[in-house]
């Protein structure tokens, strides 16, 4: 946006205030280009010598190329002139500069007040507590609503679409098999390594099978699979719903009266609930396979012996315990990640925050819930 007014001069942008007898004149000269970064400021006391009520005209014969830098200078000048009660004869400016100057408001924006950040621990704790309680209430409500939706779907009156459920199941289940295999195989192998070093001292090599089997079935497979799903699927749910929030898609659902709980959340949670227990069982087998490989390689154990010991060590109710835990983990991950997506803000950064938070809350939640299960199991003697 450069305008050639006078090509003979290519100097620094300069100005000075003159009094040529007939009145006050501001003489502008040189090139006023913003990106050269040489815009002279208009000092606050420059107009002091001009008496109130007088005119200021401009002389622009020596003005070279200019862009918004000149307008910025003129705006400063205009504000001060208005403050000092002077009249700017803008008709003596180049036509185009006058037009732009006319678009600008009389006053620049006042600086925003500094944000109030007092140290108020009691208020902070109170607000945090209230927020947390409200959040627990909201999540519970959302869970109840989703459960009602599930009930309605089960009796054939629901609003959930089967295609949504199937595509969610595909995403959560089969496509997670590879990463579930790798992690559980390695966990099984690591447990076998750790156990082997100790058990060999007592010539109790064969008990590596029991160790790996029980650990995988009771704890590791369920927890590891849940952590993988929290990172993989939970994060994806939160990001998807947060993006929908930003695009007003959630608003569109609400206006149509399509309940978000049964259209969006139910298929998400249900797909996790349907796939996670089976991923858990699969993880158990793969974990034991990992342990088996290490045991065969490191210890004096036969394949048949390892198999026999594993079958003896694990009672069926251990599987039931892990299976039930997986279902709870799935519900927890699904519900929290959907809720975090729904409460996200509407900007791109908010989507990132929601995805991260869903993963963190999912992982911490799964481990905390597992601890609760451990206490219950201990009390009941399972």
């Amino acid at each position: 946006m450069e305008r050639l007014v006078n090509t003979t001069d290519h100097g620094q942008p300069e100005w000075h205030l003159d009094n040529d007898g007939s009145g006050h004149v501001i003489v502008l000269s040189g090139e006023w280009i913003a990106q050269d970064g040489r815009i002279p400021p208009f000092p606050a006391d420059a107009l002091r010598q001009v008496e109130k009520g007088q005119d200021i005209t401009f002389r622009t014969e020596a003005l070279g190329r200019w862009d918004t830098a000149l307008i910025s200078f003129l705006w400063d000048l205009k504000q001060q002139a208005t403050g000092a009660g002077l009249t700017l004869r803008t008709d003596t400016l180049p036509d185009s500069a006058r037009k732009l100057l006319d678009l600008l408001p009389e006053q620049a924006a006042p600086p925003p007040p500094p944000p109030h950040r007092g140290f108020a621990p009691v208020t902070a704790v109170g607000a945090y507590t209230l927020d947390s309680l409200t959040e627990i209430g909201t999540v519970t409500e959302l869970g109840a609503e989703t459960a009602r939706g599930a009930l309605a779907a089960a009796t054939g009156r629901g609003r959930m679409r089967m295609t949504d459920l199937m595509s969610n199941v595909r995403d959560a289940g089969p496509s997670a098999l590879l990463i579930v295999s790798i992690v559980n195989f390695l966990i099984g192998a690591i447990l076998a390594f750790v156990g082997a070093v100790q058990l060999r001292k007592f010539a109790a090599d064969i008990y590596v099978a029991s160790l790996v089997g029980i650990a995988m079935v009771r704890e590791m497979s369920a927890v590891m699979t849940a952590i993988i799903m929290a990172g993989r699927t939970g994060g994806a749910y939160a990001a998807r719903i947060a993006t929908m929030q930003g695009n007003e898609e959630i608003d569109a659902l609400t206006v149509f009266g399509i309940p978000v709980s049964s259209y969006l959340i139910l298929p998400s949670i249900l797909s996790l609930i349907l796939t996670m227990p089976f991923l858990y069982l699969y993880g158990c087998l793969i974990g034991m396979l990992g342990g088996f490989c290490v045991a065969i390689g490191m210890l004096t154990v036969t394949g048949a012996g390892y198999f026999h010991q594993t079958v003896n060590a694990i009672a069926l109710n251990q599987f039931e315990f892990g299976f039930v835990k997986s279902i709870f983990f799935a519900a927890l991950i699904g519900l929290t990640s959907c809720r975090i997506g729904l409460r996200a803000g509407r900007s791109a950064a908010d989507v990132g925050v929601a995805a991260t938070r869903a993963v963190v809350v999912g992982i911490v939640g799964v481990i905390a819930l597992d601890a609760i299960f451990a206490v219950i199991a201990n009390t009941l003697g399972i």
Binding site: A34, T68, A69, L100, L104, A108
Partner: protein, 267 residues
């Protein structure tokens, strides 16, 4: 130039020139053999019905879509010839107002305008602040300098996007549907603003739109794209085309007629 240019062409120099441009997504041809010149200081309208490829032409002109064929000259430079660095240099002359304004949602309005200056100039923070205030002042958005895009109305977003497009004082401005979704008064104000900016800053403006009142009011040159033949069918200022063009398609568009012989939607 096409033979159906309005009479009395003012002979301003050619700033941008599209020569036999063909645009396609995969095997789907959007527009073929598009040729036109944009003269310095003009407000050039790219017109046509919905889905005829207006926005795609714009996308290609701002460097987001490489044409299948043809040459695109900006100030005599072949835009698509040479490496990425060359294109970045040429693109520094461009300012773009996107259809949805495309403000960066994690930055305030002021920061949105300041970011290109911080990235591409060595100006100090005080000068940048002054220039940001100036540009927001020009579009009457100074009061919203510390607000986030999510807190703005549609018209305010457009104006903030316009201030951002002007951040680096580009000499070519591209507007994609600037008045779409705005009320007639806000839209008319935006038109005035565009003309003022062209007159004040000497910028050349390319505008994609099918808002007829706005096109008649501000555009002084243009091209009409046809979705069926996938090629331009008329050149000239929108108001001149309205009064002088005999093509039934163009007439229907310009006079908001409901064409009987045409199957495509034209408005």
């Amino acid at each position: 130039m096409a033979p159906d240019m309005p009479p009395g062409d003012d002979g301003r120099e050619t700033l941008m020139s599209l020569q036999g441009i063909t645009l396609a997504f995969g095997s789907k041809i959007i527009q073929q053999n598009v040729s036109f010149d944009v003269r310095r200081g003009s407000i050039f309208a790219v017109m046509g019905g919905s889905g005829c490829g207006k926005s795609t032409i714009l996308k290609s002109m701002i460097g987001l879509l490489r044409p299948r064929q043809g040459r695109y000259l900006v100030g005599g430079d072949d835009y698509w010839q040479g490496d990425d660095a060359h294109r970045v240099t040429v693109s520094r002359r461009f300012g773009v107002l996107f259809q949805s304004a495309a403000l960066w949602s994690s930055l305030t309005v002021g920061e949105n305008v300041a970011l290109p200056m911080q990235m591409f100039t060595r100006l100090d923070a005080g000068t940048i602040r002054r220039l940001v205030e100036l540009k927001l002042g020009l579009v009457d958005m100074l009061h919203a300098i510390d607000q986030y895009p999510s807190e703005l109305s549609g018209g305010m977003k457009k104006r903030a996007g316009l201030a951002r497009a002007m951040a680096l004082d580009p000499d070519i401005l591209f507007f994609d549907e600037p008045s779409a979704g705005l009320d007639p008064i806000t839209s008319a104000r935006l038109d005035d603003l565009i003309v003022n900016l062209r007159d004040g800053l000497g910028a050349t403006i390319v505008i994609v739109s099918h808002e007829l009142p706005s096109l008649f009011a501000i555009a002084d040159d243009g091209i009409f794209l046809d979705a069926q033949t996938k090629t331009p069918i008329a050149h000239g200022a929108p108001s001149w085309l309205r009064d002088h063009c005999d093509d039934p398609q163009v007439r229907a568009f310009m006079h908001r007629e409901r064409p009987e012989t045409l199957s495509g939607r034209t408005d």
